[in-house]
Symmetry: D2
Subunit: 215 residues, 4 copies
Amino acid sequence: MKILLTGFEPFGGDSMNPSWEAVSRLPDTLYGADILKVRLPVEYHTVRDILECIMEKETPDAVICVGQAGGRATITPEMVAINWMDASIPDAKNVLATGEPVSLYGETAFFSTLPVKAIVSALQSAGVPASLSFTAGTYVCNSTMYHLLDLTTELGLGIPAGFVHVPFICEQTVGRGPNTPSLPLDTLVKGLTEMVRVIVAGEPTGGKQPSGYTH
Amino acid sequence: MKILLTGFEPFGGDSMNPSWEAVSRLPDTLYGADILKVRLPVEYHTVRDILECIMEKETPDAVICVGQAGGRATITPEMVAINWMDASIPDAKNVLATGEPVSLYGETAFFSTLPVKAIVSALQSAGVPASLSFTAGTYVCNSTMYHLLDLTTELGLGIPAGFVHVPFICEQTVGRGPNTPSLPLDTLVKGLTEMVRVIVAGEPTGGKQPSGYTH
Amino acid sequence: MKILLTGFEPFGGDSMNPSWEAVSRLPDTLYGADILKVRLPVEYHTVRDILECIMEKETPDAVICVGQAGGRATITPEMVAINWMDASIPDAKNVLATGEPVSLYGETAFFSTLPVKAIVSALQSAGVPASLSFTAGTYVCNSTMYHLLDLTTELGLGIPAGFVHVPFICEQTVGRGPNTPSLPLDTLVKGLTEMVRVIVAGEPTGGKQPSGYTH
Amino acid sequence: MKILLTGFEPFGGDSMNPSWEAVSRLPDTLYGADILKVRLPVEYHTVRDILECIMEKETPDAVICVGQAGGRATITPEMVAINWMDASIPDAKNVLATGEPVSLYGETAFFSTLPVKAIVSALQSAGVPASLSFTAGTYVCNSTMYHLLDLTTELGLGIPAGFVHVPFICEQTVGRGPNTPSLPLDTLVKGLTEMVRVIVAGEPTGGKQPSGYTH
């Protein structure tokens, strides 16, 4: 079994990105699965070609793309990617998108094919703060998730694939206000390790614990 | 021109729901348009039949469903409804949904056909706090928006239709913790009035101000 | 009866300060009391001389100093001022204080002599979001409250005197992030009016509703 | 050198209290200092007798009392304890205090005599999220800090003494909402260890980094 994990390059003035720091610290094999680690640029469109190229060449059995969600307090598997780009800062190629589709004639949205509820339960049982998220934002994290799921659909791959946001790591809180949530890098690595375990085990989607918001 | 606005019944132990309080205070005509006001039950599925019945009978030229999002600080037009129900509390018919589609073979998601960015700009210009939201949650607000847009698609109506969340009103903050955001009911009514103005004016979608989150 | 209310000049890049906007909109008499309105500079030390001068000349029967607490969601009477200045930005006279006493041999702290709990109850009953605060920060709002209470103690005045923080007003939320709490200026004016009513009525301190945090 | 550290018993329905979990995991000697560990009950007044008894018998050279501040994202040394008790829940002896002094004729407040700014800097340098807090609340944590500093003043001890709040640990976030901040227990232990190092080293108060809030 081969599992592809991606993290992002630093952006927005930071000198590192916890998503890549965590992914790059995983061992090369975990629970018997080969772990393939790729660092993606923070670019709306280049990401699609990179993902397509790797997926055709490496044919992974599962894909977890990881990104930073500064300000969140828990590790959040994303439920859905939407066909929309809308951000106040440009991507690393200086593309500014303030309200346009990721894919001109594409689907409105894709649901993650990762067992997101099982992942949340497993992380919580392992003492890693986790919750299910219903918005991946409208910047490069969301477009990456959209491209990933559009590709797995287009290529007819029935594999688990999706996106997970991680909070700031502790070192990033300095200078960011007195109540900025964070977790140690070790905890992020533990969370990703646990996700790989869930996927290798082929766990079902995680039963019926409620995960949503009541509005 | 005829515009349908809906609000919800109280739920979750509250004695009133600011969405219906605000909708019911609108006059019967606004900017030359007839305002049709309907109070919906907080029920996942009944809402679809009610909406379908009203839309067939009244053939409104636009629909704005309104709901409460306790804890939010601004009025938030929703960008997207997803095909998912997942909440820790049951609806008013005691239906508990902890991870299932709104519509078994339905679309993954629908985008609002309201001019959401124009609405946010107009509200802000009028001194009403507003921002665009990319998640309507996974309770009855989201399923109502999903049913509404599924219906307008199914019926081939090309009308502006969508969902708007409103914060608590000031009176609801008592006993809810020292930093619970709220707005006066008057401000909510002003916000809805401004939305009607934007729709009657047929304003385009609101230019290119960025609205999104950068993760 | 004469009541002195103060607000602050704009600071930190804003073009107005809601504290002064609200104070300046009060009528000249309220519930039979003369309302004296003074705009203070955002300066750690000048404020003391200004307050001392006004209080000697005008001998008010009560003093309410008002300041902005951006990010708070409710109007918050302050319980306590501490003998400490510590902020990342300088005051309007370019004084940067990063950890030093307001008064070299002064008291560690002063409690407000306003009926703070009665004020919170009265505002809530009037539909104005309010809660009691136990920190006025360590910038000019806190030092102003400290100077005020040090002065009333030094001069042997047994008058109600204290400080109240107000949130951003709605217009200030634009460009400040999608979930910035605010209230309309009218609501702030209504809150200050209600405070004057409580003070004129000579209400006791407000009974025994709990106001604190359980950590 | 002998350093006393205290943590609290569980309260408010929790089965453990991270403050005691962290304190109890410290070794018996650290950086050459003897570490004395005591678990305190969550009681407004009993705490004073316990502290007095231990301090007279053991004559520690420094005291750090530790408590839980659920909802905070960082470890927060407290700057000030105030002479006020005011909480919506009773203490463990069923004493409900909704607005009364800790000590009838006592000082209004005491400043921590710990090198709080040096501690914040040291923790941040060690990768432990930390910030200075200016309110310890008005429940048993605050009254404990008040009693401690009142005692060290009364007994004429010139020792470093104060209070530190810690966030929830990761395991406590389950069932507490999707964005509850937390840190691993290991990180809390690392933070307390670093505080002991700063105190043993006799570091000065930590220079002039600003720590405060600008309102």
